[in-house]
């Protein structure tokens, strides 16, 4: 049983590296991205500091300044996600193809035993393409998604590609931590 699970961990490390590599070629190394990212980071920090300093005071001119900065930051964040979009499509296609290949390799195979019974809305994932109604059987896709969740984000952080905390905090929903991490 070790071989299947270790293989899946290995597969997800490879796909995570591949995904980051692809994104690096298409996005991270481009001048436009680097410029935008630097700007967003600088602005987020500036905005955060300004909010800290003037948090209590209700000075009108300060408030206006903060609002203007927020608007600028929002625009930059939008541009940044547009730049990222291109690679998200490319990696999305690549991963859909890869995933369907792996899916057919592991089709109907129980790759692991879960030490817990998953809640009902996860059972569709953890018991995908498996026969029988023993819900502690684990399918390939469930383990793969879990691996990817932890490995991809850690690789992004290790390589310094993850958006900084200040930026993701200010950007809110527009600029999630890892777009398309399940692909």
């Amino acid at each position: 049983m070790w071989s299947d699970t270790i293989l899946i961990v290995f597969i997800s490390i490879c796909t995570a590296l591949l995904g980051e590599g692809l994104t690096w070629v298409l996005v991270y190394r481009t001048e436009k991205y680097q410029k935008l990212k630097g700007e967003v980071e600088k602005q987020s920090k500036k905005l955060e500091r300004r909010k800290e300093i003037h948090g209590e005071s209700l000075d009108k001119s300060q408030k206006k300044k903060i609002e203007r900065d927020e608007e600028k930051l929002k625009n930059n964040n939008r541009d940044l996600s547009l730049v990222k979009m291109k690679s998200m499509f490319a990696t999305g296609f690549a991963f859909t193809a890869l995933l369907s290949m792996f899916n057919s390799i592991f089709d109907g195979r129980v790759v692991a035993q879960l030490p817990f019974t998953p809640i009902s809305w996860i059972q569709g994932l953890s018991h995908r393409n498996l026969s029988g109604d023993d819900y502690t059987d684990c399918s390939f896709i469930f383990l793969y998604i879990l691996c990817t969740m932890s490995i991809r984000q850690n690789i992004q952080k290790l390589l310094g590609f993850a958006p900084s905390r200040a930026a993701s905090k200010q950007g809110g929903g527009l600029f999630g931590p890892t777009p398309g991490q399940f692909k």
Partner: protein, 138 residues
């Protein structure tokens, strides 16, 4: 504009990272250290959590712990330790980080996923025959 450089930026250009790493580790292990850069402290919590999640996963798998209890125990221990470490050991001001919640949730999902993976792998790998025998019986 700012004289403080971001941790992530620093990490991406190789050499300063290794220099900083040992210094950050020693600060992380010392009680009541100074953390001028908030991101640095959050990074310490993030990475400590990842390692901790994997270790707990291995332990849970070896024991083996089963069911909902394992999940709840992990969440409780993980959040509890982070809270005690930052508030009591490092003595930081939680308000500066936007409340204790921000600290407790830092890197939680990622470490939870890592924990689940190691738990499942070790549980399956070490106890496969026992699990199968139990299933036959029931």
């Amino acid at each position: 504009m700012s004289t403080r450089t971001n941790t992530i930026e620093r990490n991406s250009n190789g050499s300063p990272k290794s220099l900083n790493l040992s210094e950050i580790c020693s600060r992380a292990l010392k009680a009541n250290s100074e953390w001028p850069d908030k991101d640095e402290f959050l990074d310490v919590i993030y990475w400590a959590r990842q390692i901790f999640g994997i270790l707990l996963g291995i332990v849970w798998g070896i024991v083996p712990l089963k069911g909902f209890l394992g999940l709840v125990l992990f969440a409780g221990i993980s959040c509890g330790i982070v809270y005690i470490y930052s508030i009591n050991f490092q003595g930081i001001d939680e308000e500066a980080y936007g409340g204790a919640w921000e600290l407790v949730k830092e890197g939680f999902m990622t470490s939870f996923a890592g924990f689940l993976v190691t738990w499942i792998i070790f549980y399956t790998g070490l106890h496969y025959d026992t699990i199968m025998a139990e299933k036959e019986l029931s």
